[in-house]
């Protein structure tokens, strides 16, 4: 953080086409995705799916090119210590912003559990609301909704100490294996790095697989769906967005593995790896909170 060190040359990249293309591809992606959703809900037909696919492909390509270029610059020795610090700050605050994204969903869960639910059930400062939902009693998990004709309540929910616990153990283990890999990197044990990184990825994939199984189980056997009231809504959005983040994190780790196999990373210069690791630990911490507040209590 201090800038009182002697001055280094800061690498200001030359002009780049990437940002504009990236903005454009983001636009295409969301435009296509929006169109797909409108089509789905209104029964309209349009070419939105293709726009989405084109946008997403372009987005992936641009991001690939961009990261490749950043890596190339680093290998070319263009990056000063100061620039590397900028990357560190950038990643750090990006994760900070992600925390707040999850906070919105945790906040929603907290609010409905602690306030809205009891109110609708007739307790607390606004218990009068219960007269609108005669017969509704609030329990958590919510096995009956205020209006079951619109939102079909689930028959059962997923207990904490089955799959979710196993998943918790898997994710915590993956954080440990990743740390082992990191140490191996610092100690220049390339082979161990690769092995432990691969183990981490394997754990991640198992996690995702189990998560998918759980969803199938919830939908097919328990009637626990997105539309089964606020329990289902919060359940799927919290675990779902977590799952999306695990997927992204896994991709990052896979890329790190590929890079490691290509011989990238030096013991004192491997921020790409560290960024992925931070992200992974963050995803892990989020999971622990999900486990506690979504499944357990």
């Amino acid at each position: 953080m201090s800038s009182s060190t002697t001055h280094e040359h800061y690498y200001v990249p030359a002009q780049s086409r990437l940002p504009l293309w990236m903005a454009f591809s983001m636009f295409l992606t969301v435009f296509g995705m929006g169109g797909m959703m409108v089509d789905m809900t209104t029964g309209r037909e349009s070419s939105s799916t293709w726009i989405f696919i084109a946008g997403f492909a372009l987005l992936s390509f641009v991001m690939y090119t961009w990261f490749a270029q950043a890596i190339r610059e680093n290998h070319a020795g263009l990056n000063s210590e100061q620039l590397k610090r900028s990357y560190v700050w950038g990643m750090g605050w990006f994760i900070f912003s992600e925390v707040f994204f999850f906070l919105a969903f945790f906040g929603a869960l907290f609010y409905v559990r602690v306030f809205v639910g009891p109110w609708l059930g007739g307790e607390g400062a606004k218990g009068v609301s219960n007269y609108l939902w005669e017969g509704f009693e609030f329990t958590w998990p919510m096995m009956s909704n205020p209006d079951n004709s619109i939102f079909q309540a689930p028959q059962a929910v997923i207990g904490a100490f089955g799959l979710p616990l196993i998943n918790t153990i898997i994710l915590i283990a993956s954080s440990i294996t990743l740390t082992v890999a990191h140490h191996a990197l610092k100690a220049e044990h390339r082979k161990q790095l690769n092995i432990w990184l691969a183990v981490t990825i394997a754990l991640a994939v198992i996690f995702l697989f189990l998560q998918a199984m759980e969803y199938v189980h919830a939908y097919q056997d328990l009637g626990l769906t997105l539309s089964s009231g606020i329990y289902g809504s919060t359940f799927f959005l919290l675990t779902g967005f977590h799952g999306v983040h695990v997927t992204i994190g896994t991709l990052m780790l896979v890329i790190m593995l590929i890079r490691s196999l290509k011989g990238h990373f030096k013991p004192n210069d491997h921020f790409g790896f560290e960024a992925a690791a931070w992200y992974w630990h963050f995803v892990d911490v989020v999971w622990v909170i999900v486990f506690v507040v979504v499944y357990w209590f």
């Binding site: 809900t41 809205v116 109110w119 609708l120 606004k126 009068v128 609301s129 007269y131 609108l132 939902w133 205020p146």
Partner: protein, 378 residues
């Protein structure tokens, strides 16, 4: 639209003169007619004066400096730039001022939240774009329920005729309340969020779908008090007035008795025999208050959102489908469910009306009793 524009611009000079002559210069909040509204008014004035005083002091110093310490007057700048003492002072003094206002406000707030000991309760339900009032009673048969629609003619709104003095603030049936009585309100909504506001009572509370809010008032003086919906609730948010008529308790009881009587008559009306002509006549007025805002008076609709009913295959098709969409609306579209909004008689009337008006001429009719059966069956 262009014609409207033209007419608007022609009417402009007349309007300018007309309106400037009217009393339209009210600057401040009305004091209202309840103890709470008086307290609120006092708090408002207190805060306002505090701000004015602080403003005069701050801007006073500023204008003084701008006048005295200007370069063109040869002012040479000092270079002090810190003083813990004054900085502390101007942190603590405003904090103290705020503390004073805050304490007083907290008391008033607590009072507003105290709905205990209410002598009667009125349920207020917001609909797009009308209010439904229900006077709760332990005996369901004596409960009085009615809708309160804006009574201003759309011709006035579209500048086709002169505007009356209560333009936009008039309803067909006001909420009637007794003076000197603690009335509790329960507010909720059937669709989106509305907000029920009567300035003279200093009551403003949101009507939120699925959630009930409470408020209360004791009106000191008889009179007619007007307000509006104050939460954006869609297209006709601006056309959703609230009118409260405060009368003496005796008058109120009389009014309530009449209303209860009407409710009984309504039940009888449902059982009565109806002729086509009667239904058409009633249907037209129901249509114009409840449907015309979307489907237009002449049934031409407003494409693409609001389909035309004139010449519509749907309207002229299976009558059960027509009744169904009127009773239950269409989820995911703007078409509301009128099940609770219209009586059986009115539902029958409007169905008959739209099937036969504007040259739709299907020729059939449906009776209130049929509607009652359909409702019971669902």
């Amino acid at each position: 639209m262009q014609r409207k524009l033209l007419r608007g611009s022609l009417a402009l000079p007349a309007l300018l003169i007309g309106s400037w002559a009217q009393a339209g210069w009210q600057l401040n909040m009305p004091r209202g007619v309840t103890d709470i509204s008086h307290q609120v008014y006092d708090l408002h004035m207190l805060t306002l004066w505090v701000c004015v005083v602080i403003g005069v002091l701050v801007f006073g110093v500023m204008f003084y400096s701008m006048y005295k310490h200007r370069k063109s007057k040869g002012a040479v700048s000092a270079d002090f730039h810190e003083s813990t003492k004054v900085e502390l002072a101007w942190t603590l003094i405003p904090a103290a001022v705020i503390f004073g206002i805050g304490v007083k406000a907290t008391y008033v707030l607590a009072d507003m939240y105290n709905v205990d000991d209410a002598e009667m309760t009125v349920e207020v339900v917001g609909y797009q774009w009308r209010w439904r009032y229900r006077y709760l009673s332990d005996d369901p048969d004596t409960e009085v329920t009615f809708f309160s629609n804006m009574a201003t003619d759309w011709d006035e709104i579209n500048n086709l005729v002169d505007k009356n003095p209560n333009y936009l603030l008039d309803v067909d049936e006001p909420m009637v309340l007794p003076t000197g009585t603690k009335v509790r309100f329960i507010l909720t909504s059937a669709d989106v969020i509305h907000s029920w506001w009567v300035p003279a009572l200093a009551v403003k509370k949101d009507a939120v779908p699925g959630i009930a809010n409470e408020a209360w008032t004791i009106i000191n003086e008889p009179g007619t008090y007007r307000g509006q919906c104050t939460e954006l609730c869609g297209k006709d948010h601006g056309f959703m007035p609230v009118v409260v008529e405060a009368v003496t308790p005796e008058e109120f009881d009389a009014w309530l008795a009449v209303k209860q009587d009407e409710a009984r008559q309504m039940a009888e009306l449902t059982g009565r025999d109806w002729s086509m002509a009667e239904l058409m006549e009633r249907g037209q007025s129901v249509y114009n208050t409840s449907c015309a805002s979307c489907h237009q008076v002449d049934g031409s609709g407003n494409a693409p959102t609001f389909p035309a009913l004139r010449g519509s295959d749907y309207v002229r098709g299976d009558i059960d489908d027509v009744i169904d969409i009127i009773l239950n609306g269409k989820r995911g579209s703007m078409m509301p469910a009128f099940r609770d909004q219209l009586s059986e008689v009115d539902t029958a009337a409007v169905t008959t009306y739209i099937r036969n008006a504007w040259g739709n001429n299907v020729g059939d009719m449906v009776t209130p009793v049929d509607i009652l059966d359909i409702k019971a069956g669902q």
